[in-house]
Assembly symmetry: C2
Homo-oligomer: 115 residues x 2
DNA sequence: CACGCTATAGACTATATGTCAATAGGCGGA
DNA sequence: TCCGCCTATTGACATATAGTCTATAGCGTG
């Protein structure tokens, strides 16, 4: 899991948007837009729609091709809440893992970087 | 990714051990021993051995079936260092995601724990 | 009208995870 | 002795998640 779905859902939690806009927004979350294939984003959105977390509608045409505009559902908001709780848990597990890595017990290897 | 490999590698970073012992040790890292299938652990160890991160040897028999005892290689230690750095990064991304979730801008939803 | 940008979708492949069964030695109890 | 349980490890199979590549389509530019 690379946080793609939760990131998208958080963005949609803030405001409704279409896939291409979300694609650009993902840069803020640590995804490099050059490495991130657009189809991953679109698929993630479709998967979330299938799961009932978001709904979509065709946006009013302005110029260029039509946009599918997504927004969260109540179920999606609920799910996001749990997702965030889960991520807090993951956050703690990472803390524990890093602490365990640095703990390493012994007198050996006096170093221990502080950075 | 559910941190299985990095957790095992951190444990082996602390001390050499065989699979079954590591299996029990994983509880500390947030894995519930009732839900965690042992074969996942053994497979993770084999995968890491194939990748050159750990090596194994048959432990001296004491009682019961033979134990395959794992320990880290220099390459494994190097890899773990990078893994930890990566997890620090993930740690920050989770921070960002949670912050973005709570930010949500508006006057709406007064709550928001100050966690 | 060919080309590139915005915008979305689908097929196919690869990797990661999860589930289930097999093997095997030693120990306690019927 | 034989059965069932615990320790200990392995392998086959199925499912889930993620990555790559290609197709489609409207619109503006040269």
């Amino acid at each position: 899991m690379s946080f793609l779905q939760p990131c998208l859902l958080v963005m949609l939690h803030q405001t409704k948007a279409h896939g291409y806009a979300l694609l650009n927004g993902l840069e803020e979350f640590g995804f490099s837009p050059e490495l991130l294939d657009p189809s991953l984003v679109y698929r993630a959105l479709r998967d979330m729609e299938e799961a009932g977390l978001v709904v979509s509608e065709w946006g009013a045409v302005s110029q260029g091709p039509q946009r599918r505009v997504y927004s969260t559902t109540p179920a999606g908001e609920k799910h996001l809440e749990e997702w965030v709780a889960d991520l807090r848990h993951t956050h703690q597990e990472i803390d524990y893992l890093i602490a365990a890595y640095e703990r390493v017990g012994s007198t050996e290897d006096g170093g221990g970087d502080s950075g």
